[in-house]
Symmetry: C2
Subunit: 405 residues, 2 copies
């Protein structure tokens, strides 16, 4: 029996390892391949023959690995040259795969990884090689085309939703509260920031305003929003995407020098700090705080979404079956069959259609004033947050397992 | 039957409401008081007669409230004048309590709240009033004297531990990783930062260095630590307290003073960014990131410690019994009876001994180089992190209940 290999690429998520485990478990069930190899640190590691045999790992370790955040096989941001430029890397990689009798290559990643998958699939086919390349989607940004959503997003959204609700309550305890700004990730798209609309108290969204990159940021409108709301309720809760841009396309975060310290260092802040400074400068109140959720959005497994973990698992599981059926150069995608009860199915999209493409947050889900999202957005997000995982624990902290340490 | 009242003060924690519920449940059991009133927004709200009857709340809402972060009765940072200056507020407050036939007053808070408790207890006694004032400890900072630890700390430590482990894994996925800095709260003491020593992978602490306010920060030593470790493992993981100070007592972040609260406490931030800039300026690497955990440390109920929730509950429960026994002007404190198996008991400390006092992280638990903590510290922290709560959920997000919204 031939073998297969799986590797991870790009930024981590909480559920990227679940996809690897889905593939391992599917192979145990269907016995398609003799061994499931794991390429450490993506293409970069495979080119250095940094490969392990995942079939030899104990079932207990695989189960722990499934509930481990971060790319447990290691990751890379390695971009292969275009075939027209040079085929050297392609030939070297395929030689390594051939030497291990590998007939299927699975790459878990986002747009760039799908670019790699498409290029490799095309090159293999053109050279008459019997190796199938299949992409498995992964990104907290939810910005891949054709798929209803991406594994990784639901867990990020679950953390954002919970953290927004908790910080809202925390910032509401005094008689005179202030303005609280939560900054989410999302350099190009507003999916993560928008998902904060699911944070609700007594059925009402706790965020007074949500600002997305899909809508040009206007300082006057922003200050007008905030001033009026602060006057009305003596408290404002704001969610903003790190990717906010002005009308002329400049990132707010790049205009941002807050202060200089005693050593003359410029203190660079993110979007949250920038908005905070705008509010302070406008004299609305001095009580303004900003919190950047940062990488916790992509690694807070302790607050991941069980639905997301399961879907990531199933994406890996289906990928194995698709490869067994002889598909090459495709990415596994998710179709939402029904919202209530929530159900999905999987299908294939050509990987080159995903590569270098971006799915923006729909304009029609942004409210008229451009400072919030509609109930249609809420209906889309809600089923993706279902349930949190029960983690394995050792000495009272989560027990995790990666293969690079 | 007379009544009692409970109120919350100072910064929120994840378990401050659990203490209120412990008191309510104890009163249901022992039937000491007719009604348990809740003073909204602490002393400040009570002086405005902003008082609710907690005995009338449904048991279901009380259960939800128990697992709700933030001060669900509202909080204040109100400092009463010294009795020598003016007794006007004292008289007004006692008149309000008398009008409601209140015979016991419970204040859940930290040092400042124990100051208030002590003053009120003393004034009541001096004026022959039959009202007992009992303090219930609460602070994530763990900086109250005499008590082994404070309710609220274990949950903050649990979140820090988990977040440190998860961000460590997240920051370790590439072949060339960088330097990651996690900034914890802890203006005066290093308990929170030190608790990061519980974050372990394969039994080994993931933080290479932990810097505490109890040890003067030396830039040269810091850069020497970081440079050597980076050379050794091409990756460094640092945990730093927001309260780091130089030899001459200046806060590293004092250039970032945002505002001062009514007690004259400076609001600090930005130590992580400051350390990042030091590393960049020293040319060790350009790959340096800093993450401020911020208020999530005190409100991340989704990652709270069940032991902490239970101890907070029991502190409220015991407080009621102590008041019934006629004690006045005391704070309920925790004694650690045994570490393994972990067990505790409660006792009373005079509130004025707690007020305006600080329990520092023990110097003997800081390692020789001043850049980490000892295994004794680990043994102290570990039992405080036991278990996470199962939260009530509505529409896939945690269901919380406060009485100020």
């Amino acid at each position: 029996m031939p073998n297969c290999i799986i590797a991870q690429s790009g930024g981590p998520t909480s559920v990227i390892n679940s996809s690897v485990v889905g593939l391992i478990r599917a192979n145990e069930e269907f016995k398609i391949f003799d061994k499931v190899y794991g390429g450490l640190n993506g293409i970069e590691g495979i080119l250095n023959k940094n490969i392990i045999d995942l079939s030899q790992i104990s079932s207990e370790d695989i189960d722990t690995f499934r509930l481990t955040p971060s790319s447990g096989l290691g990751s890379c941001r390695y971009k292969m040259k275009n075939i027209e430029e040079s085929t050297e890397e392609y030939d070297r990689l395929l030689d390594i795969l051939k030497s291990l009798d590998i007939k299927a290559f699975f790459y878990v990643g986002g747009n760039d990884s799908m670019d790699t998958t498409a290029k490799l699939g095309k090159y293999a086919k053109e050279n008459g090689l019997d190796i199938n390349f299949i992409g498995i989607p992964k990104t907290i940004d939810n910005d891949l085309m054709y798929t209803d959503h991406t594994p990784g997003f639901g867990s990020a959204a679950n953390f954002i939703s919970t953290a927004v609700l908790e910080t809202y309550l925390d910032s509401s305890v005094y008689i005179n509260n202030g303005i609280f700004i939560v900054e989410t990730m999302g350099r190009d798209t507003g999916w993560l920031a928008a998902s904060a609309c699911t944070a609700r108290y007594n059925g009402k969204p706790v965020a007074d305003f949500i600002y997305l990159p899909e809508k040009a940021f206007n300082v006057e409108d922003f200050l007008c929003d905030v001033r009026a709301k602060f006057k009305e309720q003596n408290q404002v809760f704001i969610v903003a995407s790190e990717g906010l841009k002005t009308e002329d396309g400049r990132f707010l975060s790049e205009m941002n020098v807050i202060s200089q310290d005693n050593f003359g260092h410029s203190q660079l802040g993110g979007v949250g700090q920038h908005l905070r400074q705008l509010i302070l400068d406008a004299g609305i109140t001095t009580r303004v705080k900003a919190l950047e959720l940062g990488v916790l959005q992509r690694c807070a497994m302790h607050c991941a979404s069980q639905i997301d973990i399961d879907e990531a698992f199933n994406a890996g599981y289906e990928a194995l079956k698709y490869a067994a059926d002889g598909h090459n150069g495709y990415m596994v995608a998710i179709k939402r069959e029904s919202n209530s009860p929530y159900s999905t199915s999987f299908f294939l999209v050509e990987a080159n259609k995903i590569a270098n493409n971006v799915k923006y947050f729909p304009k029609e889900w942004i409210n008229e004033k451009g400072n919030g999202v509609t109930e249609e957005a809420y209906e889309y997000f809600m089923p993706l947050l279902n349930g949190v995982p029960t983690l394995y624990r050792t000495n009272n902290v989560p027990q995790y397992k990666v293969f690079t340490k």
